[in-house]
């Protein structure tokens, strides 16, 4: 257990450092967004570009992708019914809750974790692509369908194609990952100077991402005192950190995934909730407070759960 703690402590100490910097007032609310911008637009796209360029196409293993997709579907359906039947939430809120339990914070937690465990972010790429291109687009479409103010005019197919195109073009993480994969596929040689420069900037992604995540948690922690929806929050955190990875592990095992792919699958599913869920919740006037605190709580609790998953799977 101590060996695992030694590996993951770097992650949580960096989050803690960001947390302290936010709590102490050294950094102001909003400063975290600048660091997030640096990670999202500069460091992480370059890191992923190189990881994808150097990776092998075997990472797009059909069993690996199917296990993840099935686990996602089970978790989404399970969360939706728990929200509707047990927590008596509205349709909109239940949809946001499904995002809170299934969407993973790839950039700010999973990628640094993968870099630490697998020394590369490549194994996260196929799952992140599926999450962002398929599941997130489908969730947004469903949210739009049930939202009174922004009901689409009926062209659902064009919505899906437009959103997929928008994600591909405007999300530098995805576009540079795909570019890296394309160059890799064509066996296009890159100059040594270029790869060393990309590595130089890309290697700063993990620490800055985790530090900014700690700051974000600090800025939202004060509001946690006023939170009254303890039961929904606890349920969502439980599903996110334990049920979702457990489900993925069971499906992955039934698909006979290799140990490395199984570990990658579980760790990705056990990562804290994605920060973008509270932006979506705000946009659709749903329960933004629960979504926000879900990110904070799952990040804090992941210190225990990630270590437990690693200990169990190793």
């Amino acid at each position: 257990m101590l060996a695992i703690f030694n590996t993951t402590s770097i992650l949580f100490i960096t989050i803690l450092l960001g947390f302290i910097a936010g709590i102490s007032g050294l950094f102001k609310r909003g400063d975290d967004q600048v660091l997030i911008n640096y990670v999202f637009y500069i460091a992480l796209p370059l890191n992923l570009f190189l990881a994808c360029y150097q990776t092998k196409w075997q990472i797009f293993d059909p069993s690996y992708l199917s296990s993840y997709s099935l686990a996602m579907l089970v978790t989404i359906v399970g969360t939706y019914f728990i929200s509707r039947k047990l927590l008596h939430a509205k349709v909109n809120t239940s949809q946001i809750n499904t995002l809170a339990t299934s969407q993973v914070d790839g950039a700010y937690f999973t990628m640094p974790l993968f870099l630490l465990i697998f020394k590369s972010t490549a194994l996260a790429v196929p799952l992140m692509l599926t999450q962002n291109l398929v599941f997130f687009t489908a969730s947004l479409l469903l949210l739009q369908l049930y939202n009174e103010q922004s009901k689409p005019t009926g062209r659902y197919l064009s919505f899906i194609s437009q959103r997929s195109w928008q994600v591909l073009i405007h999300n530098p993480i995805i576009s540079l990952s795909l570019l890296g994969l394309a160059l890799n596929f064509m066996q296009f040689p890159l100059p040594n100077m270029l790869t060393s420069n990309v590595k130089f900037i890309g290697s700063s992604a993990s620490a800055v991402a985790l530090f900014s995540l700690g700051m974000t948690c600090a800025f939202y922690l004060n509001g946690l005192k006023q939170l009254k929806q303890i039961i929904p929050l606890a349920s969502l955190s439980l599903i996110k950190l334990l049920i979702f990875p457990l489900c993925a592990w069971l499906i992955g095992r039934s698909f006979n995934l290799s140990h490395e792919l199984l570990l990658a699958l579980v760790l990705l599913c056990a990562s804290p909730a994605a920060t973008h869920t509270y932006i979506i919740a705000n946009k659709y006037e749903s329960d933004a407070q629960v979504a926000t605190f879900n990110v904070v709580i799952t990040t804090l609790l992941s210190f225990v759960t990630i270590n437990l998953w690693l200990y169990w799977l190793n």
Partner: protein, 314 residues
């Protein structure tokens, strides 16, 4: 020359990337300050703590320090007299000019450069300590003596020790460097998770520092067109990038410094002007525009001068 370029290309490409992001408005004015704060309060102290812990007190080589002190004194005096006699500047402006040609942007440029060339920042530490504690204190002291708005009844004798204590105990960069040196010299073991975490965060120093430097250059670049003191700024840039390192080289050579110390001394002195000089210039109402452009110009020109110095000394 290509080998030299491959060492420094990461530095200048990262600065260029920062400039592009500033010009393209992907990052707004002020965002550079948040990234700089991350460098000064988080990444640089962590990096220096570890470097100094490993380096121990032998980095305080007497000949190395003396060569730097003599070269800086010579350049400071030369810049002052050149400003007063040739450019008819006021004594306050001349003092600022001597700071511009001697103060080095350690955190944002020299440390990343040392990381690339020596794979550690420890050789920059004694010179940085001397620059920040002694030369900067003396520079501000001289400016205060000259400043008519500062009340005369102030006790100037207590100013120097008070500022030295303030710099040593309030700058996280210096506090953690000295802590690292002390722990390393006393051979006090630090836990593995602490050293790996310090390395993890400290390794982001170079990329974030250079990127933020590029952003700062981009935000102040437009105003360069309005500058009229072309001759003075050219003189200061020549002194900073060529004369200062040349004198340091000559003195270091007479002190029979080893090749590593000599290279470190020259690279330290050839680094661009420190960004804090324009804050001081603003505070004393003297040539703040000139100081800003001196930082920009020396940063841009250092692409040529640093490569030439490295090529020549290798």
């Amino acid at each position: 020359m290509l080998a030299t370029l491959s060492i420094t290309s990461s530095i200048f490409i990262t600065i260029l990337l920062g400039m592009l992001c500033g010009w393209s408005k992907l990052f707004q004015r002020g965002h550079d300050q948040i990234l700089i704060k991350y460098v000064f309060y988080i990444a640089l102290p962590a990096n220096l703590f570890l470097s100094c812990y490993k380096a121990k007190w032998h980095i305080f080589n007497f000949a190395y320090l003396t060569s730097y002190v003599l070269a800086a004194l010579l350049i400071g005096l030369l810049s002052y007299f050149l400003s007063r006699r040739k450019f008819d500047s006021s004594s306050t402006a001349s003092l600022i000019n001597s700071l511009l040609s001697t103060q080095v942007g350690v955190g944002l440029f020299t440390m990343p450069l040392f990381m690339q060339v020596f794979k550690s920042t420890h050789l920059a530490m004694p010179l940085m300590l001397w620059q920040s504690v002694v030369f900067m204190t003396l520079g501000i002291f001289a400016l205060q003596l000259n400043d008519t708005t500062t009340p005369r009844q102030r006790n100037f004798v207590s100013f120097i020790p008070l500022r030295i204590i303030k710099v040593i105990f309030t700058s996280p960069v210096i506090v953690l460097s000295l802590l690292g040196l002390t722990l390393g010299s006393l051979q006090i073991p630090i836990p593995q998770f602490a050293s790996t975490s310090a390395k993890f965060v400290g390794d982001t120093l170079s990329a974030v520092a250079l990127f933020s430097l590029g952003l700062s250059v981009a935000f102040n670049f437009k105003a360069l067109r309005n500058l009229r003191q072309i001759t003075l700024i050219s003189c200061l840039s020549i002194i900073k990038l060529l004369l200062f390192p040349l004198i340091a080289l000559a003195i270091g050579y007479t002190f029979k410094l080893s090749a590593e110390y000599l290279l470190a001394l020259v690279l330290f002195c050839a680094s661009p002007t420190a960004a804090h000089t324009y804050i001081i210039a603003k505070r004393y109402n003297a040539e703040s525009e000139l100081a800003t452009f001196s930082v920009i110009l020396t940063t841009i020109l250092s692409f040529i001068s640093i490569n030439l110095w490295l090529y020549w000394l290798n």
